[in-house]
Symmetry: C2
Subunit: 302 residues, 2 copies
């Protein structure tokens, strides 16, 4: 068994497993929580899988405890996988200095090999390849052919970009308050500078509009607003953003830029909802997580 | 306004208010969270109120964040009140030495005036009289004529005893893993000794069975298994206990004693469910909290 089970907790008629395993991709031990429903949907022989990518500062615990995802997942018979937000147990340069870079702030990308993070911060490969392979090998009840992905804030960025970069891998995608245009917001620019290398000059929305080539191509490759421009087909995408979300107000999220790019590309299948007065917290996520599981179920059981 | 609002959080279509106020009963500032639904039930002119009493070590935050009470409360149009588990800001003898006595461990009783806790630890009066009076004075949307009560562990003890001691005040009661016979379990004996004064001799289930008068009358007055013996009428009571609950296994909860007392008294209206493999945590509470709100709604809207 590749996984060591640290805890098995009965909840909503199923089981939440708190697992750890050695990752060859990150070179570290990785924590992951997995919710296994108690019963499959009537037509299902295996459980489809919904990945939930957490936001800055979080671990697999936050959404497991506070997201209210399991009520709907149990109802539909969907397994939920909560990966960690970065490798742990390292001490890379500046890794633990700030809440928005390094530990618990991987942004779900593979850091450039030329940076101090290149060896271990390979979360894109971990989330899309290594972790699924291990899960489907060890848990025969999980259906490798039916996966969807969702996430919050930094994890919403992760969900949108990994979905857009891997056509066919996920049946649908959704996001709560996602960082939707990271190359043009402070959080994203700081992360991409550290993980991918700096831009030649400071980038503002105005300078990027005047000269799009000022944004490094390596950064654009991890920006949902850029990636969606070349998407073809139905987006199968649900996004919720609270209008009382301080980070939305501070233009860290920029869902309006993403929506404009979708519109400019003439794409169908984006449902973007602005939820009046909701904030950035799990009080917001829990209020709408059942809608997001229902959205995934619609496509996983289509 | 008797209350100071520390935060207003939109959730499940309503608002969670984090309040503090000065209590004349405890002589301290008290924290309380209040969930106000966004819409009333069709037949309602005001919101009925469900009190949730938390367990050892908790504050109003735990269940507000992790209990998933608001989904069902919003659906029914029920306000939820989360009082704190003790006065705060004091430094009474041994108050902060252990998790199961003193701060966050009031057991929702009025401590005897002869103990160091008598002046401030008057939670029974606070929960049943002062707090409701303040809430109904300040929030015109709350219906003083329709209250129910629930709670977890120590708060389950609180819910059961305050319901049984105040016939008519609450329309129904429920509890998650309640301390159901505190005079015969270590948690209850420690608390009652400290808050009410010691017994003449150590009490075991066997010694109490041989000589019931060995249990002080002042202790029995706060023990649901004792109080239910003189109840008349339908109990309107729902209790859930997990069979994988370490504290149930360790005989801290003793719901079996309570059930026996109900049976011996020939009372109707107790639904006691043993939930297979569930533990003592909010993973258990959240799995069944919607049932408990539904139970309260049945009686609040009867």
């Amino acid at each position: 068994m590749a996984f060591t089970t640290k805890a098995t907790i009965t909840t909503f008629g199923g089981r939440l497993l708190k697992l750890v395993h050695q990752s060859a991709v990150t070179g570290t031990e990785m924590a992951v929580n997995v919710f296994l429903p108690g019963a499959k949907a009537p037509s299902a022989t295996k459980f489809p899988v919904l990945y939930y990518l957490s936001g800055l500062t979080c671990s697999p615990e936050n959404c497991s405890e506070k997201g209210f995802v399991h009520a709907a997942a149990a109802k539909h018979g969907i397994a939920v996988v909560y990966p960690d937000t970065s490798p742990r147990g390292l001490d890379l340069p500046a890794e633990h200095d700030a809440y928005d870079f390094g530990s618990a702030a991987s942004f779900y990308i593979d850091a450039d090999a030329a940076t101090p993070y290149g060896k271990n911060y390979r979360m894109e490969t971990y989330i899309t390849k290594e972790l699924p392979a291990l899960l489907f090998k060890e848990f025969a009840d999980l259906d490798a052919s039916r996966q969807s992905i969702t996430g919050h804030s930094m994890g919403g960025h992760g969900a949108l970009t990994l979905y857009l970069k891997n056509p066919g891998q996920y049946k649908s995608v959704s996001a709560f308050a996602p960082i939707s245009n990271p190359t043009l917001c402070p959080w994203g620019q700081k992360a991409f500078k550290g993980y991918l290398g700096p831009a030649d000059s400071d980038i503002t929305p105005e300078s990027a509009a005047a000269d799009p080539s000022a944004v490094p191509a390596a950064w654009k490759a991890h920006d949902a607003t850029e990636l969606v421009k070349t998407w073809s087909g139905d987006l199968k995408m649900l996004i919720d953003v609270g209008t009382g979300d301080n980070f939305y107000v501070a233009k860290q999220l920029l869902p309006e830029n993403f929506a404009q790019a979708v519109k400019d590309a003439g794409l169908a299948g984006l449902t973007l909802r602005y939820q009046d007065a909701y904030d950035h917290s799990y009080y917001f996520i829990s209020s709408f997580s059942q809608d997001h599981v229902d959205h995934a179920a619609k496509h996983l059981f289509a």
